[in-house]
Symmetry: C2
């Protein structure tokens, strides 16, 4: 048994392992030597012996404090079993095996009885897989069921179909893995306004997020182009959907969250849903059902700041949101609002249609601005802060895109998390101002930028230039963004994967264990991409731009 | 109730309907007016009334002759229920409905007790959905369970989530649909040699084939680049796989076929599997495990014609095939074999690596040719015909690519089906010679040709220039080909769909009901593409080249 303590002993050992992995992959095209776990756990040790999963691999919970009333653990365990048996038919003859090489099951001990999924929940776990003596059980211990789910994901990556014995093997036992995430917010944005994404597609994205230990689905539900979600308080809002079919009922939204929330608490895949209501720009579609929300028929956004109805509707929407979306945060957007109209089109940015200074161009609104002694820039601030107050009144903390910070950071509610996107260097300013930050700089972490390659995703460090430990803690994590302009049900998976996985390791793995040169993880990431393929996820080759087709015939492990 | 008899009354009515459908789609972006079934059935009449599927929608089989011992019908019925409930949460309050608008279930009558799936099985069905009176059942009658499965697919396309009542509705009742396919062979080729396709990916392709009523999966298993399948008789053949992981065990192959064959008979999705063993070219990978199959180490294909071992291995493979692949036909390839080496590289075509005249270049083989008085061309014929004999000895009829016909058509066994691919105009020659033909001309029906657009797929008529009814019957159907050079698990679905669906209507729908101008079916095909998306199939937009990403934000129904 080799013991390679990865935590603390640092970069050298990591490099040796990565080089070993790469070497094996080059040599055998995906052999199972070396540590192939993605994202790499905080601490790993392993041995040399392969063992086999019993035909009747059992879940035991001896010594646990957790009653699993909502069946989160049990469901997770059955998903684990499904996923390790998916790629090949398991039809080995167990009577031929030495009993001492058979792993009978997994004992899971969960210390906390509480299974409310929320920001900051303990996600740590400790997994050990012994080289068995009869009867032998692997052991998984976690503070919460969500840590245990991560442990099951890691365990699934230690399993592999063995083509000689025709059963699932656990390679390189004994394993001892101690793990926890570096950041508590590890997000993926999806955008259902630019293209509607059917329910089965969103559910599959959630499944694949769990494989990479991402934990926040940022659902950019509505925008300029369409308003697909039912809002019972204002039932004409979804008149702004692309078509009658391309809509989500409240029950549909709850069903998506139910992948997560069960009876308001238990979240079966450990993934939070951060709902976004982007105001006052990016909201043109709202006015299809309620034209009063537009400054005028000819000038349709930002939302009319002069009309109390705008805030009433926001209040109604957030009230309805609060019944479905139980995550601590709501995202209020606030990006790309044109506050001057000296240069037509300025401020529309690359997401289109956030307004052309409609407020000063529309007489009614312009009059209101004068009456209240505001210019457009001040009115923008007024709108954002008032929306923040409404969100706070519904019990939410707030996420806003970085323009709000750049323009009036000192006025933002202290419960604001600033969501970076324009470029690098923002997080350090945000945390210096005492606010929290989520990193999504578009040059590295926008998945719709097809020329942002996986090494860009891997190397993007959220704590760049932030050395003060207190300030470091204010960077709660990061998020990769799958904007929907050119993404629909036909291409969302391969545009997300495998690049999102590169960011997922950055967000999960301790800094000292991260590769300093992305080439060191190339083989292991290729392996993870092939693993996603084996599970039916359409992850694209690593070579080429984002979502590129393979260029020529070849092994998954070489592309 | 309108009654529009589509069979016989011909083109005019079809055009009216298509124009109507297109008009509705343009107007409402995917509204449910008009006939939206794909492929269009032989005869359709419908009314004006919507009815709702009961919460406990039942399967009844009163009056059937079929005992469903293998559960093909029951499984198909549950898949039908799943698929119509997939897109949205069904949570309507049934207590509010008038009982007379509730459809209680479906009664299925199957006349034949035989459920062996085989070439030429009766696939007809008759479906009627009444405007109900309490208790009301829809009625499906079919000669075989495979016709009934097609009826369920059609029925699923009459169902739609109703956003007002929050239940599944059947629109435009009463329906009377009488249907049967125009061609009995409606194929899709997949290629697991250029890229390995994991099991879950192949299974999903099979699921989606059933949606479009395709009925033959042509599995091009091995080729020059890799040999992924286990062959027990020659266990080193799969040493030619890309990697240890990228292989199919016999049990895996049987599992794929099991989607089809259950206890050698029942084929749960009504789809046959046509296995291909391409000889003597396209076989380089065989020699990784058995180098004696190569003419020499430096000149590795075609398979060595001078060595009895080549035919022994083919016999072993076909013997093993016959235990898994129960379809009447086996595909023996025979394409792109270079029979001269006067021009280096000639004859390799676009599939690469089919040989460079290795037979005359290799002294041992060249000597054998002289001894037997054959030139390379005659040796090619000798090889193909001998492989045919081996296949016949295992009970198979044979499919060969068209070069075999072009070069020595009069020598082919009368049980040969000639598989066209090089271009148009071949089928007429084949059937004039009295042989059967499958049409796959590459300019129109090769899915890897990304510049072959859906109208090309739709308009490609297998019976072009064939007017003699006897000869028409010899064209058993057609096949769209998804060659794997640039297709792996990340892009196979959107490269196949929706273009394969355009061909599927050509192969299913009576000639007189087909649109003469593809624009007439544009709206209905967009609708079918969106339906695939709703079912989680990554079908690409119709605009743009094959597998193109959507160009800009917009509704699925407009792209």
């Amino acid at each position: 048994m080799e013991k390679r303590e990865m935590k603390g002993s640092g970069v050298w050992v990591v490099l040796v392992l990565f080089v070993l992995v790469e070497w094996v992959v080059s040599k055998k095209g995906g052999d199972d030597d070396g540590v192939k776990i993605w994202p790499m756990p905080a601490s790993v040790s392993y041995g040399h012996k392969n063992v086999y999963m019993s035909k009747d691999f059992q879940l035991k919970t001896e010594g646990t404090n957790y009653n699993d009333a909502s069946s989160i653990l049990k469901d997770g365990f059955f998903r684990f079993l499904d996923v390790v048996k998916l790629a090949h038919v398991v039809d080995g003859d167990f009577s031929k095996f030495d009993a001492s090489t058979i792993l009978q099951g997994l004992n899971v001990v969960i210390l906390s009885q509480n299974d409310e999924l929320q920001y900051g929940v303990d996600e740590s776990y400790k997994l050990s897989v012994p080289y068995p003596q009869n009867p032998a059980f692997a052991h998984l211990e976690a503070q919460t069921v969500y840590g245990a789910l991560h442990g099951l994901q890691t365990f699934s990556q230690l399993c592999n179909f063995n083509f000689s014995s025709r059963v699932v093997e656990v390679y390189k036992t004994p394993w001892t893995i101690t793990d926890q995430p570096r950041f508590s917010f590890r997000g993926l944005l999806i955008d259902t306004s630019r293209h509607y994404q059917p329910l089965p597609v969103i559910k599959k994205v959630i499944d694949s997020m769990a494989y990479a230990k991402l934990n926040v689905l940022h659902w950019h539900i509505v925008d300029t182009q369409s308003f697909p979600l039912e809002i019972p308080s204002y039932p004409k809002l979804w008149d702004g959907a692309y078509s009658i079919q391309e809509r989500y009922t409240v029950a549909d939204a709850a069903e998506i969250v139910r992948q997560v929330i069960y009876l308001l608490y238990a979240q079966t895949r450990g993934i939070n849903v951060l709902a976004e209501l982007d105001v006052p720009g990016h909201a043109l579609s709202w006015g299809i059902g309620y034209p009063f929300l537009w400054p005028s028929k000819d000038c349709q956004q930002p939302l009319d700041v002069s009309n109390e109805f705008s805030f009433k509707v926001i209040d109604g929407i957030l009230s309805d949101f609060s019944k479905i979306f139980k995550f601590k945060f709501v995202h209020l957007g606030g990006d790309e609002v044109n506050t001057t109209c000296s240069v037509p089109g300025l401020g529309e940015g690359n997401r289109l249609g956030a307004g052309r200074g409609c407020w000063t161009l529309t007489p009614r609104v312009s009059k209101w601005l004068k009456k209240h002694g505001m210019n457009e820039s001040e009115a923008y601030q007024y709108f954002v802060l008032r929306a923040q107050e409404i969100a706070l009144s519904h019990g939410y903390e707030i996420v806003n895109w970085e323009e709000t910070f750049n323009d009036f950071g000192d006025k933002l509610n202290p419960k604001t998390v600033v969501h970076n996107w324009l470029g690098g260097g923002v997080a350090e300013k945000v945390v210096a101002a005492g606010l929290r930050c989520i990193v999504s700089n578009q040059d590295k972490w926008y998945l719709d930028h097809l020329d942002a390659l996986w090494p860009d995703f891997y190397m993007n460090e959220p704590l760049t230039n932030i050395t003060n430990p207190k300030q470091q803690k204010l960077v709660i994590g990061g998020e990769v963004c799958m904007w929907g302009e050119t993404v629909d049900a036909s291409d969302i998976e391969q545009t997300i994967w495998p690049r999102a996985a590169a960011a997922a390791e950055r967000l999960w793995t301790p800094y000292d264990n991260l590769a300093k040169d992305p080439r060191q993880v190339f083989g292991r990431l290729k392996h993870f991409r092939c693993l996603l393929n084996k599970r039916g996820v359409a992850a694209a080759p690593l070579t080429g731009l984002g979502r590129s087709a393979p260029m020529e015939p070849g092994s998954c492990y070489s592309q």
